[in-house]
Symmetry: C2
Subunit: 145 residues, 2 copies
DNA sequence: GTATCTGCAAATTTTTTGCCAGTAG
DNA sequence: CTACTGGCAAAAAATTTGCAGATAC
């Protein structure tokens, strides 16, 4: 019989990432991370706040902002900023792209990664050392079409 | 011999774009557009404000914001928003990519365009109709390295 | 025990809006 | 003429900060 080891694997990953950057593991950080990891809707800070409050009614919006920033700094989340002024957070950190609906603003994941030769190509910019990239498609999603 | 036709070609393009969307051509819009077209530094709204004020000392920040939005709406400029909360404007509207330095925040142009097959690929997202995309490299620029 | 973290409220920063006079077409 | 604009100042939205008590390690 397997003990409930599996249940803590994700939070262990978080703990390690936090400690690697000199941060501490807290209940709030765990909750923010768990919420992000459990959704693929790319929520705004406000939406994360509301979602996390369901489990941690006393958490404050300021803490959510601080913790989202901490997670991004640890590489446990990605922040996506848009031209309409909104910012959204993504708990998936493996290579993937995004598609954003111009109509409703929804953001969805798109599998795949850019061919390596595109990232090392010298025509990227003379002297520029590429470490990452962001590829985002824009258009109209299925429900809006 | 040749009359000063060339000088007005750019503003004519702007005028046409504005009128196509029911907007009017004004001195301020011309100046904002001219400033954007004359730089490749991808300035912030505030920087556009300062730059344009050199030629139009009476222009207000609010007008710059409104006009940048108008230009973006007409397809005469592109707005780029970043995770650090800043937004920058690009007067180039032909297909190209960007590279952003994580150290100093500078944004530069990168020639090229995504292979067509990547944009029509069905794996982008079921039912999603792609109309455009944004590709941005991140890393360290030559001067920061 | 002590540096870090949280919640709260206030402060900042960034962007948008209402209003009236001015202007393009 | 008349609707669209610009400038100004005020408002709204988004994010950050200072502080005192609580907590992780």
């Amino acid at each position: 019989m397997s003990p409930p080891v599996q249940a803590s694997v994700e939070s262990d990953r978080l703990r390690e990432a936090l400690e690697a950057f000199g941060h501490r593991f807290t209940e709030q950080r765990g909750a923010v991370h768990r919420f992000l990891a459990g959704t693929d809707t790319h929520p705004t800070a406000e939406e994360v706040f509301h979602g996390v409050r369901a489990q941690l009614p006393a958490i404050s919006l300021a803490t959510v902002y601080k913790n989202l920033e901490t997670l991004v700094g640890c590489g446990m989340a990605i922040k996506l900023s848009y031209s309409d002024g909104s910012s959204r957070y993504d708990g998936r950190t493996d290579p993937h792209h995004h598609a954003r609906c111009n109509r409703c603003g929804a953001v969805m994941d798109v599998p795949g990664s850019l061919p390596t030769e595109m990232m090392t190509a010298s025509d990227v910019c003379p002297g520029f050392h590429v470490t990452g990239y962001r590829l985002e498609f824009t258009g109209v999603c299925a429900s809006c079409a």
